[in-house]
């Protein structure tokens, strides 16, 4: 994933983009925590809301894979189903962890 390319598509410089990515990582892990709570409370509505939040942020930054995964999670949770969510969460955590800007120099 080319941060410089994503930054220029958004019209921000690379340093600003890295700051946004760091914030995205922080807020997304917070939202993942809410999804996990939604699962443990068997509350699909809460899981859907948190997935919606991740979807929006990922879409704004151009992280298409995270956007697609969060969108699918949101749609499924809105239908009342949390099946397979633990696996989705693992996938989500891996994708978000891979964004750590410090690994990109």
């Amino acid at each position: 994933m080319d941060f410089n390319d994503l930054a220029s598509r958004l019209g921000v410089d690379e340093e600003d983009f890295k700051e946004l990515v760091e914030l995205f990582v922080t807020t997304t892990f917070s939202d993942i925590g809410k999804i996990k709570k939604g699962i443990s409370d068997n509350n699909p509505a809460d899981a859907a809301a948190a997935s919606h939040s991740i979807k929006g942020a990922a879409g704004n930054l151009g992280f298409d894979e995270i956007f697609s995964l969060a969108r699918d999670m949101e749609m499924q949770a809105k239908k009342g189903s949390l099946d397979g969510f633990n696996s989705y969460i693992k996938d989500l955590e891996n994708k978000v962890s891979a964004l750590n800007p410090s690994m990109r120099g």
């Binding site: 958004l10 019209g11 921000v12 600003d16 700051e19 946004l20 914030l23 995205f24 807020t27 809301a49 919606h52 939040s53 979807k55 929006g56 942020a57 990922a58 879409g59 704004n60 930054l61 956007f67």
Partner: protein
């Protein structure tokens, strides 16, 4: 130069990343941004700060965007603030509900910051247009009965603008004029003009142009839009046969972008921090004569330390030596290199002394403005 209040935008979204993205994108274009991540805080900020525009997410926990706009429109102090919804909800019914509640537009998520910026500009322009029309500005200016004194801003009064200036009027009512526009903290405008004629009408028009610059050089308008709007008013109010040439430099020191608008004026000289001086040549119609005037536009990426010189034709023309600015400007390029080591505040005066020496009087009014990025 008067400190102008920036346009303010209130961004409301329960996702901090979205708020940060909006704040970064809009603030570097001169807007002041307030942020709120929930409905009650948003309404409190709107009441206190009276933002010029609100960007409002629909799906938020607790009070939704629809609830927020309902309450804003119910309050006489906030009901006139234009509201744009930021939403991932794409159903037509939802959009219609938003419009029924008083929203002026929708931006669908995921949003691109440049789209947000474009829509903010459009709706601020619409908001301004309902309050003040071009003919309204012209009528106010016709009522001016005296020119303002001390209209020319000084570097000492405006240290953030990083400029130096040399100004000399040949007669009491000089035709040359300059102004500095404090568009936002990091965006400044630099305007140099040369009026035809040297009489009391020129003084009157100088005050009018200064007022028009203050009204129209704002973050909402691009540089070319600002100059076109000013031209539209000048065409209505300029005395017959009068016109002006002008050069407008718009510098955004955050994005390092310089835009030059040329209205029949001598070309700006660029003295880069590394490299030789060169002319930035554009051609454009004069101001105040033609309703459908076309102005020259040049945009450059600039670096810290680059200098730009805008000046009136008195610097480069000589009726005695039969030199017009078209040829004179080129021949003077090497002189700019001579003042490269002089602080920018003193560079214009150094340039004048280098060109004219101590004993020679210039043939015309002269203004030289040096701006350093």
């Amino acid at each position: 130069m008067e400190q102008k209040q920036p346009y303010t935008v209130l961004a409301v979204d329960d996702n901090r990343l979205n708020l940060k993205l909006i704040e970064k994108s809009l603030s570097k274009e001169g807007y002041k941004i307030f942020c709120a991540d929930n409905g009650p805080d948003a309404r409190a900020i709107a009441l206190k700060e009276k933002p010029d525009l609100i960007l409002l997410d629909i799906e938020m926990p607790g009070e939704s965007g629809f609830d927020v706009i309902r309450k804003l429109k119910d309050n006489a102090e906030t009901n006139a603030i234009p509201v744009l919804f930021l939403t991932g909800v794409s159903e037509v019914d939802s959009k219609l509900k938003g419009f029924d509640l008083g929203a002026v537009d929708y931006i669908t998520k995921p949003f691109h910051p440049l789209e947000v910026l474009a829509r903010v500009r459009i709706h601020l322009k619409l908001s301004i247009a309902t309050n003040s029309l071009i003919t309204g500005q012209a009528n106010k200016l016709r009522q001016l009965t005296e020119a303002q004194v001390s209209m020319l801003p000084t570097p000492a009064d405006n240290p953030d603008a990083k400029f130096g200036v040399y100004y000399k009027a040949l007669e009491e009512a000089g035709g040359d004029f300059y102004d500095i526009l404090n568009i936002s903290e990091n965006i400044k405008g630099y305007f140099v003009a040369d009026f035809s004629g040297h009489d009391i009408k020129t003084s009157y028009m100088t005050a009018s142009v200064k007022a028009l610059l203050a009204q129209n050089c704002t973050p909402v308008y691009s540089p070319i839009e600002s100059i076109k709007m000013i031209n539209d008013v000048l065409v209505e109010i300029m005395p017959g046969g009068k016109y002006l040439t002008a050069c407008y430099m718009h510098i955004n020191r955050t994005t390092h972008k310089l835009t030059i608008i040329n209205a029949g004026h001598p070309p700006v000289v660029c003295l880069p921090v590394k490299g030789e001086p060169f002319l930035i040549k554009t051609e454009g119609d004069i101001l105040g004569m033609f309703k459908d005037a076309h102005f020259g536009v040049q945009s450059l990426t600039v670096s810290s330390g680059d200098r730009f010189f805008a000046y009136s034709d008195g610097l480069v023309e000589s009726a005695e030596k039969k030199i017009t600015w078209a040829s004179g400007a080129d021949s003077l390029l090497p002189v700019y290199r001579e003042v490269a080591g002089v602080p920018y505040e003193q560079a214009p005066e150094a340039l004048i002394h280098y060109l004219f020496g101590k004993g020679t009087l210039p043939e015309d009014d002269i203004v030289v403005l040096c701006v350093e990025v």
